[in-house]
């Protein structure tokens, strides 16, 4: 049980990568990439967990109460924002690829020219 979050993170990362590698559709590829990225949320949050710790928000909670690491939570926030905008960029590229070649299957997009 004490190693389960790490195993979940590793599983999410690998299954997402497998999806990216075998993807036949650029939209599907973007979704697989978000699965891979969510593994980093699980890993960061589980690394910062303190046993019996509460959220690091001290409104109505005495200072010095056991709380989890706020640094990894702030990093996860960054991670989520970056994930969202990267997906937006990939979807925009997919739309462009579809407009130029008429398909979103990476294997069928053969006519790559500047």
């Amino acid at each position: 049980m004490s190693y389960l979050p790490y195993a979940v993170a590793a599983w999410l990362c690998l299954v997402g990568l497998a999806g990216v590698a075998t993807s036949r559709n650029l939209i599907h590829l973007a979704v697989c990439l978000t699965v891979t990225q969510s593994s980093s949320y699980v890993l960061l949050l589980s690394v910062g967990y303190v046993k019996h710790g509460k959220a690091p928000i001290f409104k109505g909670v005495p200072l010095g109460a056991t709380a989890v690491d706020p640094v990894v939570q702030a990093l996860t926030l960054t991670d989520v924002v970056v994930s969202v905008v990267v997906v937006a960029l990939i979807l925009a590229l997919a739309l462009d690829a579809h407009r130029l070649s008429g398909t979103v299957d990476p294997d069928e997009i053969v006519d790559v020219s500047g």
Partner: protein, 243 residues
């Protein structure tokens, strides 16, 4: 295929070995989390230590993050915005007539805006902050598109309005940092008074940076949606419009 099973077994064993060598879940070893949980509230008077960390302790880092957001929106805009000069003609969409749906929509827009504003405004006191609050705010405005029509939504996809507002969000962050330089202190020094702990006036520049991030995220999301919408809604040929 014959190579797959040994490769999976070997790598799986290595992975299991690596995971077993990690500190147990909940057995936190790093000093920074413990230190920040003790010092941020007395030093900065913000009760949400995560936001105190985001906008003060690693404020420069968050500025970089905000510019990742900005650069990505610019990237999507450059990829999708049609600069060919051809005037786009609006496709007429069916207006949603069901009163029940529209009523639920109005409630969702109002409620979403309220929750979003609350998340941004009180972000550094209670759970929330500029980033999640901005997403909720833009989400509430997107509901307007779902239950309304193109006409109802058109003010929120006007690039001439969205572009400057997005820049205000990202630029406000930098200006707050430069204000410290002007005052003769290092970039992004928290130079406004810290106020009383647990009130809206606490945290000094944390509140300003939080608001700037909220504005930047809200309009970045709206801009992204506007660009996708413009590409997705195929324009009609001018002669089709009359029919």
């Amino acid at each position: 295929m014959a190579l797959l099973a040994p490769a999976l077994l070997g790598n799986g064993a290595l992975l299991a070995w690596a995971i077993a060598g990690l500190p147990r879940f909940g057995d936190y070893r790093g000093p920074y989390g413990l230190v920040l949980n003790r010092i941020v509230v007395p030093l900065r008077h913000t009760t949400n230590v995560v936001m105190g960390t985001t906008f003060d302790v690693r404020g420069v880092d968050t500025m970089g993050e905000e510019f990742i957001l900005y650069a990505s929106v610019i990237g999507v805009t450059l990829l999708l915005r049609d600069e060919s000069g051809a005037r786009r003609v609006e496709r007429r969409t069916w207006r949603l007539r069901a009163d029940a749906v529209r009523l639920v929509g109005v409630v969702m827009v109002g409620g979403g805006l309220l929750v979003g504003l609350w998340l941004v405004a009180f972000g550094y006191i209670t759970p929330g902050g500029g980033f999640p609050g901005g997403v909720v705010l833009s989400g509430a405005i997107l509901v307007l598109y779902l239950v309304g029509s193109h006409c109802d939504y058109s003010p929120f996809r006007n690039q001439h309005v969205l572009d400057p507002l997005e820049a205000v969000g990202a630029g406000g962050y930098v200006v707050t940092g430069l204000a410290a330089l002007v005052a003769g202190m290092p970039f992004l020094t928290n130079l406004f008074g810290f106020g009383r702990t647990g009130t809206l006036a606490s945290g000094g520049s944390i509140g300003i940076l939080n608001g700037a991030a909220g504005v930047a995220v809200t309009f970045a999301m709206l801009l992204l949606f506007a660009e996708f919408l413009e590409t997705y809604v195929v324009p009609l040929e001018p002669e089709d419009v009359g029919s």
